[in-house]
């Protein structure tokens, strides 16, 4: 059977480039699965868990938003950041979450930093949730 070639790239480095039978990606409207022969597709990604299955094994990554492009059995994931679920530092994520929430409280909705901190809250909450499911 044909396989997908999956590539995960972040601005800081190329995280992963592997073959897989199936990829489950946290898309804009919820998780979507990709198998070989998928229609060309481009979706925004929400912070969440990305799972790759190959044979009996599977590996999961936390991706914090970005884009996923599927074309000709190639899955290209441009994530802002990506890390194996097992490598999530929950304590650090929690402290970042609290910090962002605290900052958010002092900001008006029109403030230029408001969006930044809202995104941070969402991201860290998703990170902690992803770690909880490992």
């Amino acid at each position: 059977m044909a396989k997908l070639s999956v590539e995960i790239v972040t601005p800081e480095r190329r995280v992963l480039s592997v073959q897989a039978e199936e990829a489950v990606v946290p898309g804009y409207h919820g998780l979507f699965g990709v198998r070989p022969g998928h229609t060309p597709f481009l979706s925004l990604m929400e912070p969440g868990t990305l799972t790759l299955r190959d044979g009996g094994s599977s590996q999961s990554f936390f991706v914090s938003g970005g884009f996923a492009e599927v074309s000709r059995d190639k899955v290209l994931v441009l994530a802002e950041s990506a890390e194996p679920i097992s490598a999530i530092d929950v304590a650090a994520a929690k402290s970042r979450l609290e910090e962002a929430q605290k900052k958010l409280k002092g900001l008006a909705a029109e403030d230029a930093r408001f969006e930044v901190e809202t995104a941070a809250v969402k991201r860290e909450a998703a990170r902690i949730a992803a770690a909880g499911r490992r």
Binding site: E12, P40, F67, S71, L78, E80
Partner: protein, 293 residues
């Protein structure tokens, strides 16, 4: 005339300075390598993102996006990217000079030009001048990550969209090679990117079938553009860090060889002085013995 002890002291002090500059050069070289690796590692993402945007733009008819709209120039912001540390040759002063020139040249073009500084050196300089310093992004170099660049980009674009700013510029050191850095001034907003050349998309052998987008194209573009801006900023940050290390490395290299030259001159002078002292003593002894005869 300087006494022998004084010269010896001088030599010792120059030697220890040389040791310091040598060590700094090594440290800079090591950091430079790391910074160069980071630039290389950031490349695939930037390329793929550019490709995505150009493909998207090639497929959609009219692109109207708040970050692309240019308005009559009234308020501009110049982001000055310097370093936190000195002793890097002309690294910081070049950027500062370019920024000052920009302010001077554009005093009439814009009603107001705000300054933002990244890096302590730029901030230290401009806080004493009659300029509108808006914000200092301090402590950014402790850990240069994409996150910081993304946050910065988001803040700038939010203010741009809100109409507080009509143009955003960035002045930074572009990394050419370990010994060459060029100051470059680029416009960040209104956005000028791969959009200027959508024809390039043809190179990427666009798939015959159109993509399905989720959500619709405008929303996707909405997210892609700020991302591209963040990538631009991130690259500038990385280049600046690499340039800083490169500039420091060559500055310290020069300092080390200057110190070596100084040591050899001083040593020569020391030996001459020593000779002179010996000769003088000898003459005194000889003339003393002569007098006794």
């Amino acid at each position: 005339m300087a006494s022998l002890r004084d010269i010896r002291k001088r030599i010792r002090s120059v030697k220890s300075t040389q040791q310091i500059t040598k060590a700094m050069k090594m440290v800079a070289a090591a950091k430079l390598r790391k910074a160069q690796d980071a630039i290389l590692a950031a490349r695939p993402y930037a390329q793929m993102l550019d490709l995505m945007i150009s493909e998207l733009v090639a497929r959609s008819e009219a692109v109207a996006h708040p970050l692309l709209v240019s308005r009559p120039p009234k308020v501009a912001e110049l982001v000055v990217l310097t370093s936190d540390r000195g002793l890097a040759g002309g690294f910081n002063s070049n950027v500062i000079r370019r920024a000052s020139r920009f302010l001077f040249e554009n005093a009439k073009t814009y009603e107001k030009v705000f300054l933002s500084t990244i890096g302590r050196k730029g901030h230290d300089y401009f806080k004493k001048r009659p300029v509108q310093l808006r914000k200092d992004f301090a402590g950014l170099f402790a850990k240069v990550s994409y996150r910081t660049a993304a946050d910065l980009a988001q803040e700038l674009s939010a203010r741009y969209v809100a109409g507080e700013l009509d143009a955003v510029f960035l002045v930074y050191n572009e990394f050419v090679s370990a010994i060459t850095q060029t100051v470059s001034l680029v416009q960040l907003l209104p956005f000028q990117g791969p959009l200027g050349a959508p024809a390039k998309a043809g190179k990427a052998e666009p798939s015959p079938v159109d993509f399905k987008y989720e959500p619709a194209r405008p929303e996707v573009l909405d997210r892609l553009l700020p991302q591209a801006l963040a990538v631009k900023l991130y690259r500038a940050l990385l280049e600046s860090v690499a340039s800083e290390q490169g500039a420091r490395m060559s500055a310290m290299e020069n300092a080390t060889s200057n110190a070596a030259e100084m040591i050899s001159n001083l040593t020569l002078f020391y030996n001459r002085t020593r000779q002179a002292v010996i000769t003088k003593e000898l003459m005194e002894i000889v003339s003393g013995a002569e007098a006794l005869k």
